[in-house]
Symmetry: C2
Subunit: 464 residues, 2 copies
């Protein structure tokens, strides 16, 4: 099993970050640069994003260095100059990071993070930063949608087996917990992050016994009070009746069956039928857990018909953000050596210069945001980007996971429902300040004049 070791993390980057770095180095082109990390457009049905991944970025930056072993491996690639490789050995991240804290909401075109550092340092870290913040914000956003659609039902992360790899399995557990999930099946994530664990049995447990009811009996002998019996291996209704039989046997011993899980079929109809069977036998306290390929669209349908589930296990479709498995998150140079810069590529115009985002509230509800220049003053808006790293060192104490989760739940509660609907949400108002707008226009004209004019002349000459 090849897992990147801590001293190899510096190599987890795109080759071009290093070729550009060598060119900057050889050219003595290493002034202060500011890069903005932002998402250009919403994936389908999205109307907000949840900031997630900052802690991993900050820890990565604080420990960033090229080990001798890593430099040796670069040497063997035969691409880099000895002088540059020698330089890499002493390279540290010495810059500043400003960011929207984890668990807070952000919207398209808002910088969720800005890095200011000599361009070599700021450039080389691009790949890792996008990799982590894109994934974690994507999943926290998807998980928040699931939590919203489930209307208060307890949510459990079941995704580990089908997340895209091991790192994703860990980050999905963390991101979904921030977004309001109650627990995870991922034992290592539980141990690493302090997330409550959940889970009892699989179909293989049932089928390893000759009869379903023998499996139920065996399981409750060991885990009486935490047993959730999986009842759909052969037939959900038959399974529910056997669960009732076992619950009666338990009751006679003074024990309580915690509940049952349904993992396939028409979850709404089966939920009502199983609830009826449990209630008819007097097991009103026995819970029903629903699972099996669920996402926020299914959860909303189940909520709308009032399906009697106490909890949902949500796996694959949340864990890979199935309907939108990526965002177009980009990390763009916005300022170099005191000069604001702009990119014009078709459909990919970005806002120049270092920025701040201000959030305006009314009566405790989120009202609108303004994207402004970093140094702009506004009245009444809360600045969202906080200085979290200076001189390459993390500032202050990193928030605990529970605090991030609280922050999310509080802010999400202050965002109106029309921005959170599962399909076609309304667009939360995000304005661009007048100063930022004029700077953008000014640069657009300047770039057009300097970079495109000669071509137009050439073309006209060519055509005449």
């Amino acid at each position: 099993m090849n897992m990147p070791q801590p001293e190899e993390m510096c190599l987890l980057t795109d080759l071009y970050e290093l070729t550009m770095a060598q060119s900057y180095f050889e050219e003595g082109h290493n002034e202060q640069a500011t890069f903005s990390l932002f998402i250009r457009k919403y994936p389908p049905h999205r109307g907000f994003f949840v900031s997630c991944g900052l802690e991993d970025v900050l820890r990565y930056l604080e420990s960033f260095r090229f080990s001798t072993g890593a430099v040796d491996r670069l040497y063997r690639a035969g691409i880099f100059s000895d002088r540059f490789l020698e330089y890499l050995k002493g390279l540290r991240f010495t810059g500043e990071v400003r960011a929207i804290p984890e668990g807070r909401l952000f919207f398209v075109n808002q910088p969720v993070l800005e890095v200011t550092a000599p361009i070599i340092e700021a450039q080389i870290i691009e790949t890792f930063i996008i990799n982590q913040v894109n994934l974690q914000s994507l999943i926290a956003t998807k998980a928040a949608r699931c939590v919203h659609a489930a209307r208060g039902r307890r949510m459990v992360d079941f995704s580990l087996r089908r997340t895209q790899g091991i790192d994703a399995g860990m980050k999905v557990a963390r991101a979904s917990y921030i977004a309001g999930f109650a627990s995870t099946s991922n034992v290592l994530a539980g141990a690493t992050y302090g997330i409550p664990l959940a889970g009892t049995m699989a179909h293989s447990y049932i089928s390893s016994y000759e009869h379903e009811i023998d499996a139920f009996r065996a399981f409750v002998r060991g885990f009486s009070e935490r047993s959730i019996l999986l009842i759909d291996t052969y037939d959900t209704v038959a399974g529910a009746q056997k669960a009732v039989e076992v619950a009666r046997e338990m009751a006679a011993r003074g024990q309580h069956l915690r509940g049952v899980r349904i993992d396939s079929g028409d979850l709404a109809a089966l939920g009502f039928e199983v609830r009826r069977i449990l209630d008819a036998a007097g097991f009103h306290e026995a819970q029903i857990v629903g699972s099996g390929g669920l996402d926020e669209f299914d959860l909303e349908e189940l909520s709308q018909v009032g399906a009697p589930y106490d909890a949902y296990g949500v796996g694959t479709r949340m864990g890979v953000s199935g309907d939108a498995p990526w965002t177009d998150m980009a990390y763009k140079l916005v300022r170099y050596n005191g000069r604001p810069v702009l990119k014009l590529s078709s459909g990919k115009v970005s806002l120049p210069d270092a920025k701040q985002v201000f959030r305006f509230s009314e009566a405790g509800r989120m009202h609108h945001d303004v994207i402004a220049l970093h140094q702009e003053e506004t009245e009444g808006g809360e600045p969202l980007l906080e200085r979290v790293m200076a001189d390459g060192q993390i500032l202050g104490r990193l928030p605990r996971l529970a605090e991030i989760r609280e922050r999310f739940l509080d802010e999400f509660g202050r965002l109106d429902d029309r921005y959170k609907t599962i399909r076609d949400p309304a667009a939360y108002p995000v304005e661009v300040s007048a100063k930022l707008q004029s700077l953008t226009e000014e640069l657009r004209h300047q770039v057009a004049a300097e970079e495109l004019e000669p071509v137009r002349q050439d073309r006209e000459l060519g055509e005449s």
Copy 2:
């Protein structure tokens, strides 16, 4: 940055694997079990899968153990018995693995891997096995579709920044290389797996200079012969003309510009225009690389119009398998203690018992496959599952990555094009042997009789 350490990998599992294991342990229910790993249905437009991920599975199994630290963490969860935790400390994987080798094709319902071991061992490893083989086969399949659609153009993996985490970034580089990609931008994957590296510059490099042409000149000073200039930061045609200017300056110094890259806009139209500009200036050897949100559907369109690209950089959509970011891969108990077993859950019937897959060829072309019982004899079919682990030890030498890639390219070449079309491919014929069919039917009746009959009687009584 929290990355799982080797001694923690045993905890990278779903809680229920461990609760089931404790129950098996306490009940003395630990006979030989066989689990089959397979995919039930094709994601949209898929007609084949590429086996990938076996090496990681085998290395994981060979080193599988619960460290004292891991057991301590389980102890703190407060779920498990002391006796069971003590037992875990001595647990090793002692079983057998049979698998379709990496790089070979497989199809729906075929076991790509079968594990036979005492059920505790075979159960606990489920989560990791699915996690790795699902991801890697998913991506190898997606990458193979891209390679097929690009009709011989050189393919470069650019996905690292938007893969779902770090592990995925590494595995995508490996899987796409197996499927015929030529190189990757992922430096660590290059160093770890010996994959050729590719990449030169980003838009930020260009915009850090006051003028685009200054950036081009600076870059070729350092990397003359491997320079691919990115020409779409402001305007692709203007960029191409500046690239020509720089190429002329290089020619005067006896150097050659390797090529240009276009990362946005109408790639087909721009490709033709840029080719015309390069050719008109006599730079016929300068290559054009296309990139920017490409997948097999785009590549096929570009191929169909004969867009003059020499290579494509393919990132996000391949790296997350954007149109189908998961498969329904499952790991099902098919035999326990000598008894073939079957699951009936709605829509999820599985084939019972240990199996073999036979591949029949005609005139060197793949003709059809037969899924049979493990011990069945067939005439003329090549058995696909090989015994790769016995008594918990890897058998023989693991193939090198280049060998796996060769194996894939050879077999993929022997699969008719109609099974590889990008949209709605024909279904490659996969039969189920008569013996396996009758066993399935027999078990279906037996299970129906034993597990469902009593319920039907109850219902009739209840309704009368």
